[in-house]
């Protein structure tokens, strides 16, 4: 049930509006985190910041200095830029599937004729379950088959050795 004092109210509203999977009833809300300002990519790689390419003017002035990115990375929202960001933190592209000795993440992207835009990331927590952060809202556990109007159909899997 959605109530005004429900800390997950916005997340539930989002699920109802834009998701066909998971539904509000399929989420384990007891284990969902409070909404905080880090995004799915930060959650997936374990560095809880809002990872977003810098928005620069033509002279290099950065308009979103509060966001987390690296000057060495491309300043665009392509999934390839996020793949490079994950590579900087030890991840490599791999096949899908559970490998217990590796941390595995998946990057979602929406593709059109000209570009592949990064839309979402999740990390695998068991052979059939994933966790991801929904925008600025809660992070939730779900099946791999997450489906949302924002997130597109593209998937790139990446892994790094567990420490």
């Amino acid at each position: 049930m959605v109530t005004n004092d429900d800390k997950h109210a916005a997340t539930k509203r989002l699920l109802k509006r834009a998701f066909t999977k998971p539904t509000v009833d399929e989420v384990d809300w007891e284990n969902a985190s409070d909404p905080k300002r880090y995004n799915c990519f930060g959650f997936a790689i374990g560095i809880l910041k809002w990872w977003q390419p810098y928005n620069r003017d033509r002279n290099g002035t950065i308009l979103n200095p509060h966001d987390c990115w690296s000057r060495e990375l491309p300043s665009n929202n392509s999934v390839d830029a996020f793949v490079k960001a994950a590579e900087l933190h030890g991840f490599q592209i791999c096949e899908k599937g559970w490998e217990p000795e590796f941390e595995k993440i998946v990057l979602f992207f929406a593709a059109d004729a000209t570009e592949r835009s990064f839309t979402h990331a999740a990390r695998q927590v068991s052979p059939s379950r994933w966790k991801s952060k929904l925008g600025k809202e809660s992070d939730i556990e779900h099946d791999e088959g997450i489906s949302c109007t924002h997130y597109g159909d593209g998937r790139i899997y990446m892994k790094r050795q567990r420490i």
């Binding site: 308009l63 509060h66 925008g135």
Partner: protein, 187 residues
């Protein structure tokens, strides 16, 4: 308060006319409540609207949209595809901010270029105190608008990617800016 622009043109003209005639009273029916795009409030009569300048200027503003006193900020906005007139810059800002936040709900990469954000930036200095308020409430995204409106860099390159320091720098900048505004008003 937000209300349909076409409906309010007549009301604005009546308001201006009331001021021109020196009545200082709200035209009958101006205090109606209205609801649009999920934003609801009650219109407030501002007696000062009628004394902002010449009859010609008031008539022009009545026909072309409303501006706040001593400011270049229009009270009109396009929110969720519909035209609206607001009772104050605060209400216009809140409606646009809500629209922008709602649009970005669930997005993993924030869209700073959305038209609602562009309209907020277009409101200029009037909204700087509101933006600082939001920063102080932990909503760091508004640094983008502050930087665009003021053309200043409260943050320094060594703060890049450090959200807490960037936000603190802008809140401190806002405190100093507020002091300057108060001093300017006291002269």
């Amino acid at each position: 308060m937000a209300t349909n622009f076409d409906n309010l043109k007549t009301k604005v003209a009546m308001t201006a006319l009331g001021g021109v005639l020196g009545q200082g009273l709200p035209p009958r029916g101006f205090e109606q409540s209205s609801t649009a795009v999920g934003i609801s409030a009650t219109s407030q009569w501002s007696p000062s609207v009628g004394v902002i300048g010449s009859e010609t200027r008031i008539a022009h503003e009545a026909l072309s949209g409303v501006r706040t006193l001593n400011s270049g900020c229009y009270l009109t906005a396009i929110v969720e595809g519909a035209n609206h007139v607001f009772a104050s810059t605060r209400e216009k800002f809140e409606a646009l901010a809500q629209s922008w936040e709602d649009y970005n709900l669930g997005r993993s990469v924030i869209d700073y270029h959305d038209f609602a954000m562009q309209q907020i930036i277009g409101m200029g200095a009037d909204v700087v105190p509101f933006l600082i308020e939001r920063l102080a409430a932990g909503q760091s995204d508004w640094v983008y608008a502050l930087k665009s409106i003021t053309g200043q860099e409260a943050d320094t390159p060594d703060m890049l990617g450090d959200e807490d320091r960037v936000v603190s720098a802008w809140i401190e900048w806002g405190r100093r800016d507020g002091d300057k505004r108060r001093q300017a008003r006291s002269y």
